[in-house]
């Protein structure tokens, strides 16, 4: 049965505007408000995780100088820092925050397809955050099993937080997954089914392609984490033996036997590796739009960029065991997973080349968002190259569980996505608030953060080559670690604390600019995508006033010859301005 698209029957549908304060700002079903709720919550927990990392660095840089950091707390800080940053900050911010804000605006829709479910998604996310943070206040504190939560140690006495911490952690993850599923179904369905007239998939801005594919990855990968959380909770609470082999603990034989710890690792990394791309793909997409807009140049190889995102998404499901080279799995697996891992370098390299070629001969405006975007190309290339080291089994074995790994994944999925987060917040801040942020402060924030992260992570590669193990509370006196490593650790700590404090500039900037910022106007970056063409800034409920936009061109008509402006918005008709759509290699 043919089904009439929403864009064709917009006028038949009644739009109800929320009237009371509560329905407008608290129990809001408006995707823009939900996006801001997601974003603020995520930044708040991210701040907590940042403070935790500062505490860890204090201990590592100046061992035993701080009586309030014991080995137990150190492990709890590591664990919570990792889990919060990966799941509750980055995943929530990219998909719940940017996904919610940008999807309906960029495709020319009035809202998500199921706004009520979207609202529930946020409130469940908040519940999961509260459950997670409550573990700081229970007996034994939060879990200290490391963010990978490997059993058997994660649920046995001797690991911090085995009283309640681990149960709360698993419960919090389960609730988060339910919340994500509700949001994620909305994002995917909205992108596929609620686009404006003329908005084909191949005219969508790359931001949406990144968010779209990342959401699909999330919908398919989070189930594995959900299942392993259920099973580990049963192991802990009900005494089952899914992941627990026969084991001696504290001199006693436990009642567990016959379980498979490796099974957990497989399930965890079947989620965990796509999770890397759940964080990275939205960053890829957003940064593409930032680069194109601020270089006044169409994105180089749009089609290739789309296919690369899809290829990376597909490949990310068959590389998970490269996290397990030292786990004791069948060594023959190593060959397969090393091969697939290295193949991912191909689409990734295509993307990096295309970003650089987008800048080539561009009219580059070094605004704050652009600085962050270019910074991302550096840190991502850097982190990607060390990934090639670690993807090879023989190179990985000596480097495994050293600071080289810490440096690698912080460069590639810590610093790089965070730079994009900052760049994107600065970029869309004028649309979200209607005010301009302070440009000077933004630039200072960029340079201190960018150079600071190098001061933190470059020396860590060296520590890794020396063989300094990660996750250790203190190094102690060992022959293979020279004195210089201790000095480096101090320098890393000082840089880390400095970079942490610098983030206050960012918070100050976005909070004070709310009041004091200059009015930004509807389209300060003179960008082509639909969200900049809304009748109101910030966009009102329903986004588009009386008429939905009609799309006539792709998202990258910058510097088109023969047009009086250097950008042509997507909703400008071909009668008014030439269409320069990229037609792919065959035309």
């Amino acid at each position: 049965m043919a089904y009439v698209a929403i864009a064709d029957r917009d006028h038949e549908i009644e739009h109800h505007d929320p009237t009371t304060f509560i329905t407008k700002y608290v129990w809001s079903q408006d995707h823009k408000v939900i996006a801001i709720q997601y974003g603020v919550t995520a930044l708040f927990v991210g701040l907590i995780a940042l403070i935790l990392s500062g505490m860890m660095r204090l201990q590592l840089g100046f061992p035993n100088s701080f009586s309030f950091i014991t080995p137990i707390e150190y492990y709890q800080f590591i664990t919570m820092h990792g889990m919060i940053m990966v799941i509750f900050l980055l995943t929530a911010l990219f998909l719940g925050g940017f996904g919610n804000y940008l999807i309906p605006l960029m495709i020319g829709a009035r809202d998500m397809v199921f706004p009520y479910m979207n609202m529930v998604s946020y409130w469940l996310y908040l519940v999961s955050v509260i459950i997670l943070l409550s573990s700081f206040f229970v007996t034994g504190g939060p879990t200290g099993a490391g963010w990978t939560l490997y059993p058997p140690q994660a649920i046995l006495p001797g690991t911090p937080g085995t009283d309640w911490g681990i149960v709360l952690m698993l419960g919090s993850l389960a609730v988060f997954i339910v919340a994500f599923t509700m949001g994620g179904l909305n994002y995917v369905t909205t992108i596929l089914q609620a686009r404006a007239r003329g908005m084909t998939l191949m005219r969508m801005p790359l931001s949406l392609w990144g968010i779209f594919v990342a959401t699909i990855l999330g919908l398919l990968a989070f189930p594995a984490l959900f299942v392993s959380a259920v099973m580990m909770t049963l192991d802990k609470v009900a005494g089952t033996s899914f992941f627990m082999p026969a084991i001696m603990s504290m001199g006693e034989t436990l009642s567990h036997e016959g379980g498979s710890p490796i099974l957990f690792q497989h399930l965890f990394w079947f989620f965990g590796h796509p999770e890397v791309y759940i964080v990275a793909l939205p960053a890829f997409g957003l940064v593409s739009d930032l680069l194109s807009t601020h270089a006044r140049r169409n994105i180089f190889g749009y089609r290739m960029m789309v296919w690369a995102i899809l290829a990376i998404g597909g490949l990310s499901f068959i590389v998970w065991a490269h996290h397990m080279y030292v786990s004791g799995m069948n060594p023959y697996f190593g060959f397969f997973f090393a091969t697939t891992t290295l193949i991912i370098a191909v689409p990734t390299a295509i993307k990096v080349y295309n970003w650089v070629l987008t800048l080539w001969k561009g009219d580059i405006h070094l605004n704050t968002p652009m600085l962050f975007a270019i910074g991302f190309i550096f840190t991502f290339t850097h982190g990607g190259l060390t990934g090639i080291f670690l993807g090879n089994v023989v190179v990985d074995l000596p480097l495994s569980d050293t600071y080289f790994v810490v440096a690698h994944f912080h460069m590639v999925m810590g610093v790089s996505p965070i730079l994009v987060v900052f760049g994107s917040i600065y970029h869309w801040y004028p649309k979200i608030t209607g005010k301009m942020y302070n440009e000077t402060l933004g630039k200072v924030h960029f340079w201190l953060t960018f150079l600071g992260t190098y001061a933190i992570y470059l020396p860590m590669h060296y520590l890794g080559f020396l063989g300094v193990p990660r996750r250790y509370f203190a190094m102690g006196d060992t022959e293979f670690i020279p004195e210089s490593a201790f000095v480096l650790n101090q320098s890393i700590t000082i840089s880390a604390l400095f970079v942490g404090v610098v983030q206050l500039l960012f918070l100050y900037n976005i909070i004070v600019s709310l009041k004091k910022g200059k009015p930004a106007g509807p389209n300060p970056w003179r960008a082509t995508t639909l969200e900049w063409q809304t009748p109101d800034t910030p966009p009102k409920h329903g986004n588009w006033g009386d008429n939905l936009p009609v799309v006539h061109r792709w998202a990258y008509d910058y510097s088109v010859p023969g047009y009086h402006e250097d950008f042509i918005p997507q909703n400008v008709s071909p009668d008014e301005a030439p269409v320069t759509e990229e037609h792919g290699p065959d035309t």
Binding site: P223, G258, L267, E581
Partner: protein, 223 residues
């Protein structure tokens, strides 16, 4: 409003997927249900993979399904008789569900209502028989979530976890069906543009739960 110019170079499947407005010519709810079921497939897939792994890693003997799941009606125990009936009931419920969808689209509200109730009834019977099966295992055979007198403790763990998770899906489906059935009866869908897609969407979920059962049946009872 000038006509929208689309790229003309696409062909075949690519063209189908890259049109403007909507990719699939289906209502939003239906598309979303498909994506949800895809995600749910990965949940059950992970559960069953975990089950197979621990069945291989378990050190103690795995109970023989044809003996554990046998039921005696006075004479010799008949292997898998209960589960055969349960499976038959669940598959039958898919049949009534399909007829309900048809009646919904035909606008025969009353028939659609009763067929949906019949489906929900079959579902309820299935869950009740599952409760009976659990009771037999727990009370008569002494199987627990964490232990199993007949051998590997993982038998009890995986069995209760996975059939329990599936049972929750069936129970949720029964509630879902009853809600939709009531709305069919009360004419709720006549007020919202008079379409009965919701019946079909509920049906998608129901068929999925049945399909999952086929896999659980094969892996737990026939292996």
């Amino acid at each position: 409003m000038s006509e929208v110019v689309l790229t003309e170079t696409e062909s075949g499947a690519v063209a189908d997927f890259s049109t403007d407005k909507q990719t699939f010519q289906v209502p939003w709810g239906k598309a979303m249900m498909w994506f949800f079921l895809l995600s749910d497939t990965f949940i059950f897939g992970s559960f069953l993979t975990g089950y197979m792994t621990v069945r291989m890693s378990a050190r103690d003997a795995w109970p023989v399904p044809s003996e554990v799941f046998a039921l005696s009606f006075g004479g010799d125990p008949i292997p898998l008789i209960l589960i055969a009936i349960m499976t038959f009931i669940l598959i039958s419920s898919s049949g009534t569900m399909a007829m309900a969808v048809k009646m919904g689209y035909r606008g025969e509200k009353n028939k659609a209502f009763w067929l949906m109730l019949a489906t929900a009834g079959f579902g309820l019977m299935f869950v009740s028989m599952q409760a009976f099966e659990w009771t037999k295992l727990i009370v008569d055979d002494g199987v627990r979530l964490w232990s199993n007198p007949m051998g590997a403790s993982q038998f009890g763990s995986t069995f209760f976890m996975i059939t329990g998770f599936h049972g929750l899906h069936v129970s949720a489906g029964v509630i879902y069906l009853i809600v939709v059935a009531r709305r069919v009866k009360s004419g709720f869908y006549d007020r919202t543009r008079g379409n009965y897609e919701m019946v079909e969407i509920a049906g998608l979920y129901w068929h999925f739960v049945d399909l999952v059962w086929v896999f659980i049946f094969a892996f737990f009872y026939l292996w």
